[in-house]
Amino acid sequence: MSQSSVEQVPLTALQGITADAWQEISRACEEPDWVRDLRQKAWEAYVETPLPTLRDEDWRRTDYRELQLEDLLLYMPAGIEAACEADLPESLRSHSETGDDWGGMVVQVNSEIALTRLDETLQAQGVILAPLAQAVHTHPELVQPHLGRIVTPDDGKFPALHGAFFSGGIFCYVPPDTTVELPIQALVWMNAENIAVFPHVLLVADRGSQVTFVERYASPTLEAQSFSCPATEVVAKDGAQVRHVTIQDWGRHVIELGFQRLRVDNDGHLLTILAATGGKLVKNYVDNSFAGSGVEAFHRGFFFTDGTQHMDYKTMQDHLAPYSTSDLLIKGALRDRSRAVFTGVINVRKGSKRTDAYQENRNLLLSKRARSDSIPILEIDNDDVRCTHGSATGQVDQEELFYVMAHGLNKNDAARMLVEGFFSEVIQHTPLDGVQAQLAGKVQEKMAGWQVED
């Protein structure tokens, strides 16, 4: 009844953050009730949660007031139909094709999935790779226990917004004791301006399984603003080994406010790589939640800002159970007048005895006008734990520079070598050779035209 009384707005003209707007998305996707209920709850949380402001501790260094959310289109079709990767536009493939052999590939363009491909061998293993909108119908028993439950509307204003408005979406499931040899890539591509996208990734690695999953966010650089409000939910069940790579390579017109949470159960192994080089203004939460005991987690990441880019990453090593180890190193470099904020939280909850957590952040200021903040936060509600952190921010070391120059390299080349080496320490842990080379190339690209300052 109420549906017919509302004047029908085409999806492509949706604008303004209203209940009607998300309901329209839900209706168009013919979602089951339980998904609609998730959106409803998220919407309620969104309405109740005040917009974060510079007065909030978490947001006082990141001013996103330039975001014109009300002016953006909330749903943009892909406009691309691809039966296989070769059908995808060259600009997109220049990101997704790394020289690695991909066992599966999902491409979301704007608000819709444009391609899903999964190798037959992986299909035969029972691996599922599907658009989320489809998986909620075909595999509710696998999706429902996790969707919106790892990243929840309670995680903040923007996770709540995401929960109401998500569209497109990628679901990946690896059955118990299954080793997926070839990596899987999820690419979110945005090729329009004045739009907002709400991409969702849900990866469930069941007991004892092994998988390598790469999430990539990329776009060309356009004139007007676009907004990305993604959420990633990863579940590594007991004994699962997950290698997860996130590459944020948005065009320079993109504002992103995102949230990622990876939950690891008993004896799970997690390797994460974060590579952030894109966007105009980016704030992301990267939350690692060690729900089980005996977890081993190894995190490496880097960000590289230039121009007037602003990046804000907050990582969390949340130890909820005993006997787990986590080791995190994030490196950053800042050029020109860019700005970066890194907050690293280690949280050892009550009862998480014998936790061994390490966190380090090292930043290189490549310009006197760049500014970086590094904020370690240790919340330890336990005695029997080992928790260490380190943080250092500085310029290219003059003695190292002299050492390299004494070996024949001019000042700029010497400095470049040092910066590349700085990042290489992180990039070398990336599980795929092609991606590794691509990230090294990205660093070189970011260095272009840079001159070492005296």
Partner: protein
């Protein structure tokens, strides 16, 4: 021979660090094929001289000149000096995390020689030198000096010299922190690389390494100046008497 212009000449070199004069008129003349040892107590200015020769920006030459093949190099950048054929083995080699020894040296050789060298060709060149110096090939893939022991770092400096084939090698306390066997290995490595077209200035506090890298001339530096020069026998005299006694004698004769 006497009329031949020395290919490396330091003439009345004065050097300041943060407006403190450290070198107070150093003179040294080196011909091709010669090995010169500069000895002296800690703090006498040996490393200051080495850094100045390579062009470290913190060291300001306030007077004098340094001629290499007749050209004053004091205004040159460190990389230009490397290209001219000057090599400095650092007393405290730096680690370059993220850059493998192989990549570092290949980039360095390309820059110094100003020519392309294929990865394969370079690898062969490097492994040959490693074998010659009895350095495990495994070091080629490791990040340069990252986590290396003191002795390993010193041997890497010699490996660099072997790869870059300089005309003039300045070795700053290449023996410090090494045990007896390592000193021997490093010393023999250096002398195996020596040839009549190159020259070595070996800076050391202790005479021991000079038994393997036998210098033609020995100079004693005290307080920023070379106070006495002689042949190998001066090193032997120092070994017998120690710095205290010898320096007293040296200072008496020079005053």
């Amino acid at each position: 021979m006497a009329t031949e212009q020395p290919f490396f000449l330091i003439d009345d070199l004065h050097v300041e660090i943060e407006e403190n004069e450290i070198l107070r008129g150093v003179d040294l003349s080196v011909k091709r094929g010669e090995i010169h040892a500069i000895m002296g107590p800690n703090g006498s200015g040996k490393s200051t001289l080495a850094h100045t020769l390579m062009g470290h920006p913190s060291y300001e030459a306030t007077a004098g000149q340094v001629l290499f093949n007749g050209e004053d190099i004091l205004e040159r950048d460190p990389n230009d000096r490397a290209k001219l054929g000057i090599f400095l083995a650092f007393q405290y080699p730096l680690a370059i995390p993220g850059v493998s020894t192989l990549n570092f040296l290949r980039t360095s050789l390309k820059a110094v020689k100003q020519e392309e060298i294929s990865a394969r060709q370079f690898r062969k060149h490097l492994l040959e030198k490693m074998d010659l110096l009895k350095i495990s090939r495994e070091f080629a893939g490791r990040y340069l000096n990252d986590g290396f022991s003191g002795g390993e770092k010193k041997r890497m400096e010699i490996l660099q010299m072997a790869v870059l084939e300089p005309e003039l090698a300045v070795l700053d306390e290449i023996d410090s922190g090494l045990d007896i066997d390592a000193i021997r290995a490093v010393g023999e490595g250096i002398s195996s690389l020596m040839h009549p077209e190159m020259s070595i200035v070996i800076i050391t506090h202790y005479p021991r390494i000079l038994h393997y890298v036998r210098p033609d001339y020995v100079h004693i530096m005290v307080d920023g100046k070379i106070r006495q020069s002689g042949g190998f026998e001066l090193a032997e005299e120092l070994e017998a008497k120690g710095y205290d006694v010898l320096l007293k004698e040296v200072m008496q004769t020079s005053s």
